[in-house]
Symmetry: C2
């Protein structure tokens, strides 16, 4: 057994935050063009180098006059002034307005010498004698004096100002075409673990390879926080390669994050490099998810080691690392978006450390936000998108009862509560239906789970298949039939259920929670009945009856891979995978609504879609249900 | 007089929105790499093409066993299993676990054949005989089954999903390295008007040139909304050039925005091009700011003409155009950030059309948000940054009394209420002081305005200079002296105030609201007193006494430009501009706090800074106060 490190002395979240905050991630400053300044942060004060406007400027179309000449003018008592000339915007006036005269002027044009006000064109009439003025103006009226907007020397924008379109407007007005801003901190991302493969490359599942989730996820998080991510090539578990990579990253970056493997040996490698070539300031923090976190330095760079599981890595990144990157980039903490809701179910928790509990949100019929925990187990990447935010559960809290009001910190202010939340059977047509609903969330955890959760009252709808139960919960919104049977290789001898039972074939079944499996079991029962034997006799005769999977297409995929002779499947799946299909029956897929949620816009939308199912299927290009 | 178009039949805001919404700005779809997918919007559903995990995966470090072999095992009744081998993450198991055996396994490794559970390492001990198991496990315990995270064929992400780090995580887990997303709508920006100059280029103020504010501002707004801005070269007012440009932009973009000049002739040119080559669907909308808005098509592209004034242009852009760009990009409307506050002053409004009133925010001592209108007049670009959001004032609302609760729509969710709001005299040292305060807002509108507004109770502090008044408002937080006098050309004969009065010199004064001017008037009064004449006699003798400016450095700049012989100035200003300085006196700059705001963190911060003023000045590299 290798010498595995344990994190016996976990730091408190506050200690961890203090240690991470103590890291020096300052990226310095740089000069960027105005067009690239959006969302950057000014590194220094910008003073106006010129007056805006740079000249006394007409702010109306009309006539530039000496205000004194208009005193007494009115609709009934017009004053006629001699027309001395015209001034357009963008040209130097070649006219002087003497007493008794006026010059035609455009909005934005330079006030001609002598004039001190503008009469708007609507209150004038040109005549053969000149221009008739039908209103009195005061000195300065309809004129913006030079520097009145902002004066040369005035403080225009302070250091630390975030540049939005509004600041760009002011900088442009000042003629500024480049600004000094805080640099984006460069954040190196080093992934470790022999089992990791970059997305897009082929993967060998039999050898335990998985795609590298954390590199891209954390890189996107770095960008969100105002940093510039630098992805380093994948290092495996080789100590020398890892050491070289970490040093390269430390030389080139302000902060290095390592991330990837959950295996102890990969973590060991990192641990040794940091201890030998850097300074390890913290290992392990008492939060869930996220315990295994390393903080220190490598060379001149700051270093944080993220846990291997994606949800843990992103939680630690968000909670401890993103604030440091934002601070270094000069960006303010984002306005935390929080939502208050009621726990939809009981939640128990007894691990005695702070937990950021991932939760999903759903609105009930009355508009109350319900909060349910999302916990698909360590390492599940779907938890990333099945949750909307987290509830901080203190180390001392052992139970959150249903109905308890909790505050949810949304993952970002852009997170919207899904309009529709459903749970249940996976089905190809249903997946297409969901495309027609705005921002739905659907957890394909099977018929049994859908039924159970609908009874608990959490989802808006459940989708079930297989034999009906007498006490089917909810209100049926609609249904359709689907053909199920066995996916087999071309030219297979498995031609019906009896052949499967009686022959020597390797079969792959679905899990007991799926509706498809219930349909299969009903067919087995019927055959047993026909033969006058106990169903167990038949199932015992099927090699692989107990070999189940929750993955819809997996039985068929096993067949396609040559690892099995027959798999429980839908006709659609067999077709997709290019397999033969032995039909064993038809089952009805039912969409059941939570009775409290009918009337909810998304549920009614679904009811309408289900009412036009034939039209929908017809519109699905190449769809085989 | 040219035939100027009037917008007599203004559309209602609702009509305008409907017309803009009817434009076709759909940019189609494109494929981007996963690393570039952040903040993009999926154009189509992504189904899982593989099971995740792709194999039955150990989720703990420990020993892979047959669960049945552990039944009955406990701390007091350990069960010893034969050690059959080892499986690391990222390798294909070369061991089969028979009954009575166990294989060492790392987190993330492939479960070896025969094994159906993992015993965590902490509950085991390796001995000479094999491995001692001190707990019972159930089948599947500490194992994540293939496809349990997400199964091949399952719906992973729906069309219309915005890609955040979480979605990137799921896509990476599925091995997806590129995704089909909505294209960003290309938005062409054409600026018009002979008077416009691009920032960074030299400007001729005497010829009425100004910097083009709208192009960069609107471009940044387009990016914020998820579009891709394309800036076209500036077109002037030339009909043929403008026509060519608009057509080029229409050919290359989904939407063309024209923006820039406020002059009627430039608007006329656009108007003619649209009428001749496109389809004009709307001109003029009844909102303030923003009345002159054009909506239609040019060739195959949608077209919106924005008003010329920057605040109007940005308001129209935000209100009508940004939602259309977001919709085309597939982005949701951002969660509107609103703040409720109390009107700090009375506001009257009688124009009878919907007004988006720009407002600033300040917190009073009790934490209540106060709302004050920001209206620096048409065309002021500083209004862009002096406001935090807008209050929609209905066409029928004629008055918003002080104390009325109003809802402010912030310009963006990132807008934070400035920590410190001050009004008053412009001063170089004060500008430096502000650099030490987080996100301050300061309006350098002069001593008189500062005093007036402090009496109204709106700002946190006012900065005043010139002679003290008996009833100076507020509490003095601190003060410093500054030298003032005349900025003159080198070798000038203006050596003192008497010379200015008695000689023939062109003088430039400051406006009556500035403290500096009050100090100057006091000096004139003193000289008149000394001479036994009325002050008016002396001021009449100064050529330009009535020629005033609100721009701090402008009098000195007039001298530097050779357009005047003497200008009222600070020593610091004369030094900055390389002029000689004739000292006439010293005045005290006082920082006065709103009595209700002492105790506010930023005000106390200021009090501390003012207490260490000598230190601060010493730290200012090269500062001449």
């Amino acid at each position: 057994m290798t010498d595995r490190r344990e994190f016996r002395d976990l730091a408190s979240p506050e200690e961890a935050r203090a240690v991470v905050d103590s890291l020096d991630v300052d990226p310095g400053t740089e000069t960027v063009a105005l067009a690239d300044a959006r969302d950057r942060v000014l590194a220094e004060r910008v003073d106006a180098a010129l007056d805006v406007p740079g000249f006394d400027r007409a702010s109306m179309d009309g006539y530039a006059v000496r205000a004194r000449d208009t005193f007494g003018a009115g609709e009934a008592t017009p004053e006629t002034l001699e027309l001395a000339g015209t001034v357009h915007a963008g040209e130097e006036p070649d006219v002087t307005v003497e007493s008794g005269a006026a010059a035609e002027i455009s909005t934005g044009a330079v006030m001609p010498a002598g004039a001190d006000a503008v009469v708007m064109v609507e209150r004038t009439t040109e005549t053969d004698d000149g221009v008739e003025i039908r209103t009195a103006v005061t000195p300065g009226e309809n004129v913006m004096l030079a520097g009145a907007d902002i004066a040369a020397g005035a403080r225009a924008l302070g250091p630390g100002t975030r540049v939005t379109p509004r600041e760009i407007g002011l900088l442009a007005a000042l003629g500024v075409d480049e600004v000094r801003v805080r640099s984006r901190p460069r954040v190196g991302i080093v992934s470790t673990g022999d089992e990791l493969v970059r997305p897009g490359e082929p993967i060998d599942s039999a050898a335990g390879e998985i795609y590298d989730v954390n590199s891209d996820t954390v890189a996107a998080g770095v960008e969100d926080a105002g940093g510039e991510p630098v992805l380093y090539p994948h290092a495996g578990d080789d100590f020398d390669a890892m050491e070289r990579l970490l040093h390269e990253a430390a030389d080139e970056c302000d902060l290095v994050l390592s991330s990837g493997s959950t295996s102890a040996s990969a973590v060991d490698v990192i641990y040794r490099v940091i201890e030998e070539r850097g300074d390890l300031r913290l290992h392990g923090v008492a939060v869930k998810p996220g315990k295994p976190m390393l903080v220190g330095t490598v060379g001149e760079s700051a270093y944080v080691g993220l846990p291997g599981y994606p949800v843990s890595a992103l939680t630690i990144f968000r909670t401890f690392v993103a604030p440091v990157i934002r601070e270094a980039a000069g960006l303010p903490e984002p306005r935390t978006a929080t939502v208050t809701g009621e726990m939809a179910v009981d939640e128990r928790y007894t691990e005695g450390r702070l937990r950021y509990m991932p939760v999903g949100l759903v609105e009930d019929g009355a508009g109350t936000t319900l909060v349910y925990p999302v916990d698909k187990g360590s390492g599940a990447t779907t938890s990333l998108v099945d949750a909307d935010g987290t509830v901080a559960v203190g180390a001392d809290t052992e139970r959150l009862p249903a109905g308890r009001r909790v505050e949810v910190t949304l993952f970002s202010p852009d997170v919207h509560v899904p309009t529709l939340f459903g749970v249940g059977e996976d089905d190809p047509l249903w997946n297409r239906l969901l495309d027609r609903v705005e921002t739905p969330r659907y957890l394909p955890t099977g018929t049994a789970d859908g039924r159970r959760r609908l009874r608990e009252g959490v989802p808006d709808v459940a989708v079930v298949s297989g034999p009906s139960t007498d006490d089917e919960p909810g209100e049926r919104l609609g249904d359709w039939d689907r053909e199920w049977g066995l996916a087999v290789a071309p030219d297979s001898d498995v031609t019906d259920l009896a052949a499967l039972v009686d022959g020597e074939y390797r079969f792959v079944n679905r899990d007991a929670g799926s509706g498809l499996r219930r349909s299969f079991d009903a067919a087995v029962d019927a055959l047993a009945d026909e033969r006058g034997v106990a169903p167990g006799e038949l199932t015992d005769a099927i090699d692989g009856y107990g070999l189940t999977t929750g993955a819809t297409e997996r039985p068929a995929r096993k067949v396609a891979a040559g690892e099995a002779d027959a798999g429980l499947a839908l006709r659609a799946t067999a077709a997709t995978l290019g397999l033969e299909f032995v039909p064993l029956g038809t089952e009805r897929v039912r969409v059941l609504a939570n009775p409290d949620r009918t009337g909810k816009e998304s549920v009614e939308r679904l009811r309408t879609l289900l009412g036009d199912l034939d039209d929908l299927v017809a519109s699905l290009d190449g769809f085989e249900g």
